[in-house]
Symmetry: C2
């Protein structure tokens, strides 16, 4: 199988990650419950993972790294924990349903006000709209760092300055960016970053988290066993326990932690460069196909790979071929795994007028090869010629 659905989940994991998972299976028990060596070792491993993640994302306080089961949970905890009746939120049409659906629920149940910044035909945000939408009750900007549909990178530095100027919180969905491009929360003024472990951080499924780099005290979401303060009727108020109830996914966290090690060892810039080489090679190989329509800023791909500001995603539609047909054809006839359809991001399809046909998405990882790209280019050209 040629696997180009890495924006959904990276398939090939570094050996370090599978080794860490297997080590965890025979070494760790439970974190924060029990005072025997294996429990203390588990607790130390989890704490070290918090330290690594805080450092990785340029955040100050490891105890404000909260583990969740995926980015969706991180975003639910963050959004339901932050917004109440009387608040207004500015978000964007590039958001995934993991942001949109919590926001819509807040709108319908608590009357939270919502505005969404639009995009142009290349998927670039209309940055001038952010300030236009700001009201006296605006509490935060919630923004997708890299669109899982277009691969466009939002200019977080710019949006961070607007947020700071107007005293708004900046909440970033880093599902597609964490591990793929460098993120520095301190530098860019991100207050809360929500990430998933199983994509570009190379961790296993069932992992993700929230990194809080401000004094925000999010409301509790899940409450329950905490291993401490058992006689307190409420969830303990301190981070990380405030937002972590129940037994942690120790094996998953061990794998995620090893994924961070792998990225640090390999170098974030090297990983991004490799991914951009693949993106550029792929784009150059298919750009002249008759009737192809891309959904990102093609000019940015004219730079050298190390200077390209783009996610590791190339999305397009081919003439009248519905994206699902293209994906099926690639899967069945060529064993090439890609994604079609709406990608859980409805508003961007409304902006691109692709609600019906969806968009075919090819997403790359550090572990993909040029040969895989070339084979896929050949397949797409064949399909393009033969499709009626």
């Amino acid at each position: 199988m040629i696997y180009f659905d890495n924006a959904a989940t990276t398939f090939k994991k570094p050996k370090e990650v599978t080794d860490a998972i297997n080590y965890a299976l025979v070494s760790y028990t439970n974190s924060g419950r029990g005072a025997y060596k294996a429990a203390l070792d588990s607790g130390r491993m989890v704490y070290e993972a918090r330290v690594k993640l805080a450092s990785f994302f340029g955040a100050c306080d490891p105890s404000r790294v909260i583990f969740t089961s995926n980015a969706t949970e991180a975003l639910n905890i963050t959004l339901f924990g932050l917004f109440h009746t009387g608040d207004h939120v500015i978000s964007t049409v590039t958001e995934h349903n993991s942001v949109l659906r919590p926001l819509y629920k807040l709108e319908s149940t608590k009357g939270v006000g919502l505005d969404f910044v639009g995009i142009d035909e290349c998927g670039r945000l209309k940055y001038d709209e952010f300030e236009k939408y700001i009201r006296s009750d605006t509490k935060a900007i919630v923004i997708n760092h890299i669109s899982n549909v277009s691969g466009e990178i939002a200019d977080i530095e710019y949006v961070g300055k607007i947020a700071k100027k107007h005293n708004l919180y900046l909440i970033v969905d880093a599902s597609q960016s964490a591990g793929s491009i460098n993120i520095d929360m301190n530098k860019t003024g991100i207050d809360i970053l929500c990430f998933t472990g199983h994509k570009s951080l190379f961790g296993p499924g069932g992992t993700g988290g929230i990194v809080i780099n401000s004094d925000i005290m999010l409301d509790t979401f899940k409450v329950g066993g905490s291993g401490v303060q058992s006689f307190n009727k409420n969830q303990p108020s301190e981070y990380p326990t405030r937002l972590e109830a129940g037994t942690l996914n120790i094996m998953g966290i061990a794998g995620l932690s090893a994924g961070i090690d792998f990225i640090n060892k390999t170098g974030k810039a090297n990983i991004h460069k490799k991914e951009m080489q693949l993106v550029k090679r792929f784009y150059n190989g298919i750009k002249d196909i008759d009737g192809i329509r891309f959904y990102f800023d093609k000019e940015s791909l004219e730079n050298e790979p190390e200077n390209i500001r783009h996610g590791s995603i190339v999305s397009f539609n081919l003439k009248k071929i519905p994206s699902a047909d293209l994906a099926d054809c690639l899967g069945e006839d060529y064993d090439i795994a890609i994604r079609a359809g709406a990608h859980c991001a409805p508003l961007i399809h409304k902006a691109f007028h692709t609600e019906k046909e969806g968009i075919a998405r090819f997403s790359f990882s550090y572990f993909n090869t040029e040969e895989e790209v070339d084979e896929t280019i050949k397949a797409i050209k064949e399909i393009s010629l033969n499709y009626r």
Copy 2:
């Protein structure tokens, strides 16, 4: 290490489970997202796990098996999804904070009424109290199947009849029972069962679930990406998607599914018998130590192992030794891992008057041995003699 903290998490997993996790790491991608073979295989594996779990617990509908990251999440989803202002709940003092804290939060935020059935000095529920607490607004009985402190098994058949007679929902926290004793939801009238994967089901951490065996439509909890109905502003209303948002823990579910296979192959009765042999051997070895105080019905251990109705837990305090000291001593001097303290179950300690000293808990698994039990008996006797 001799590991007797299996009530927190089983440490030794069957080879089938670690094999399944490693197979998942190189075979599965993402369930319900993508139409290529590896995604479809992942989806089939997850669906098969739902079928197995429904059958395992005597429930009718695999699509009402919901995957969560642990029992705490399962209980949060269930309790916050079921109870609203105007409802009254009957629970018990044996509950874990994963039940108590959600109930207290419902009480303080929505005015949900709470009553807790008490226990006697052996940890047995005062069954006559259930009907006494029933009011016109009582909606459900929420009950811990096996106490994680005493190991006492609640008589679910009896409570199920009361629930049925008064048209109440029966919600069961099976954290300690799932995999350790047989559960038949159809037969006992359990409407919702919440379980964790990483204890007696031998799955990895980060797994758990809800089994719904009734027509209850729980409110959504987390909302977000669902892979289907992307243009619906709400989480899809159908189970299991209704309660599952975001990417599932595929590797974890594969491991849990293999755990179920292991139990089915080994036989639930054989596993319970083995655990009761260990419990009985341990109890008999320590019962005559001067000043020992047990926290369960000792008479039940006089039966043959296959007929003992008890969880795989033996809890006690030894004279004036604080439980934490006993645990530390066993851990440091003998490399025996046990648990001390409150075990996240505050009300049972109020009933036992053990808020201060806690209780020392020894919890066994199918993979423990008689030799480990004997060594631990010896250690406890030594500590008992030498402690001043």
